[in-house]
Symmetry: C2
């Protein structure tokens, strides 16, 4: 295992020190492992909190800032954060208008966020949770009952974040988060595994001419293994899986996401095939992201996430955002 | 070799199709392999053109847009673009105020840009070239006489781009580009090699506990191979090399750049050590970038680039930019 770390037990703390040094717009509580906006809670604004295992950067800490999250709770690599982090984060971002928890559907995350929400409610902070489960690959899997939450998390954080910034109440912010999740689907493909530092060996093995279709963001098994193929064939399998679940049409928001070890050059090749597929179905990529946004350490592969847009969702997507990982228009 | 491609001979064209589909702010001439701003040349504005081998994305095509480049010429992977591309690009961005060529110091790029500049001058387009040679690792190397150009290219494109956007004349834009290069130093480290699609095998081999110090962005040899070590030790070697060449002090612009296959989590760990080193020297990371900006396909490793800021350079760095790879503040 060759990694740029100081030791397997300081990975998350050392990375948080780096975030703190690089981004003066963030206030990073290294001891308690919470990434806050430096500006603190704004009275009357709904607070947005997310979190999950580390190793998926920029998700979630990189999406803290104006127009997106108010705080993120990073767990150990590929390990759920604990309720204490979530409680501190929730209380720390409450501006009196309540807090939305954005929770990817992994059993540990769900249970811990639920416990934190209950304890915060007991202390007088109103909390609503939205569960992200956009991955069409498999029903139930390692770590998850039901579908896994992947790329749509970014869409929810951005769009609900924009609505919260405009001063909307918690019920509306929660509703749009639910809507975005319901209108979004993802599918991931791995060309290689990744290695969790503390484990020291790859999470799974693929041979030289094999890919995993429907991979999870922790390297959980997908639908099947298949021989490696041309990008257009692999993209067709991914897009068919999405289209079978949610027929594609009209204007869409599309993300081709690198898993961490895939050259951007290849991600653009994948995007070209995704756009061609959408055109076949009479859909268009009205808004696009291509890059590493929801990663799995150094895994090679990609995921594609599609959200069927409405005018309102497009407008909120376009609204200003200022975070380390997503920034425009302010 | 497992890559997300349709074939080794269509890699660049397919990726350009993806860029065209993803970024409506760009006009991508796929046949001639030029990435332009969709808005075309602005009369009276100095045009900025760069280019180089593909495989370093988002450099350069991802830095075309408001406040940065007017056009980029991608060559084949790790191969210089040809003069015809540069000539078309230069003529295509000329708004009557002349054109700046930003050229990384690799022999092929230098010769081809020089030929293109001469031919454009013959046709009445004023061209000035600035050579980027910020890499302190080695003097003369594979592909290069003198020092190689790496991360400072992004700094030059951003800062000179901002000045050009403000309406400054070619002489001033060229001067600030020269200044930024002169005030910037880089050093790269590889943990693994990368594979050029057309070659089908890694550009070099490193064993399981070995790293290459001073790596070039095409996998050219650096200063030495060394046993793998903690991030803080590796960063100290890189920063010492920079500091020995250009003593660090005051406010700096710092980029920790992933080579393409390095998790962002690890890049932040590297940034933490870079910030600690700067503090020792009485310098501060007044502006920071952490991410994949000047990549080498799927290579694992990082480079660090430091530019000693002035108030003017900081102001131009902060100016609005709107490109696929760098975007803020508009």
């Amino acid at each position: 295992m060759k990694k740029l770390i100081n030791g397997t037990d300081t990975v998350v703390a050392d990375a948080l020190r780096g975030m703190a040094a690089a981004h003066p717009g963030l206030r990073v509580d290294i001891e308690n492992r919470i990434v806050f906006r430096a500006s603190g809670p704004r009275p009357g604004k709904v607070g947005l909190v997310s979190g999950g295992g580390s190793g998926h950067e920029p998700l979630h800490g990189g999406f803290v800032g104006y127009g997106m999250l108010d705080a993120a709770c990073p767990g150990e690599v590929f390990t759920s954060p604990v309720p204490d982090q979530m409680i501190e984060a929730t209380k720390g971002v409450d501006g009196g208008a309540g807090v939305l928890h954005i929770v990817k559907n992994y059993t540990g995350d769900v249970l811990n966020f639920q416990m934190a929400a209950e304890l915060c409610e007991d202390e007088g902070v109103e909390v609503t949770s939205v569960l992200i489960n956009d991955d069409v690959a498999v029903q139930d899997s390692l770590y998850t009952a039901g579908r896994r939450g992947t790329g749509a998390t970014l869409f929810v954080e951005k769009i609900a974040g924009a609505l919260a910034e405009s001063g909307a109440p918690l019920s509306e912010v929660a509703q749009i988060a639910t809507d975005v999740n319901a209108r979004s689907r993802s599918f991931g493909v791995a060309l290689s595994a990744c290695t969790v530092p503390a484990a020291g060996k790859p999470t799974f093995e693929l041979n030289d001419n094999e890919i995993e279709l429907g991979i999870g963001i922790h390297g959980e098994p997908g639908r099947t293994r298949a021989p490696h193929a041309e990008a257009r064939e692999i993209v067709r399998i991914a897009m068919d899986a999405i289209n079978d679940d949610m027929p594609l049409s009209g204007e869409t928001l599309v993300m081709v996401n690198g898993m961490g070890g895939t050259p951007l050059l290849e991600q653009y090749i994948v995007f070209a095939e995704v756009a061609a597929y959408l055109a076949e179905k009479g859909a268009t990529p009205a808004r696009s992201l291509v890059g590493n946004y929801v990663t799995s350490l150094e895994m090679q592969g990609f995921s594609v996430t599609v959200c069927r847009l409405t005018d309102e969702l497009a407008r909120l997507w376009d609204a200003p955002v200022e975070t380390p990982g997503l920034r425009w228009g302010r």
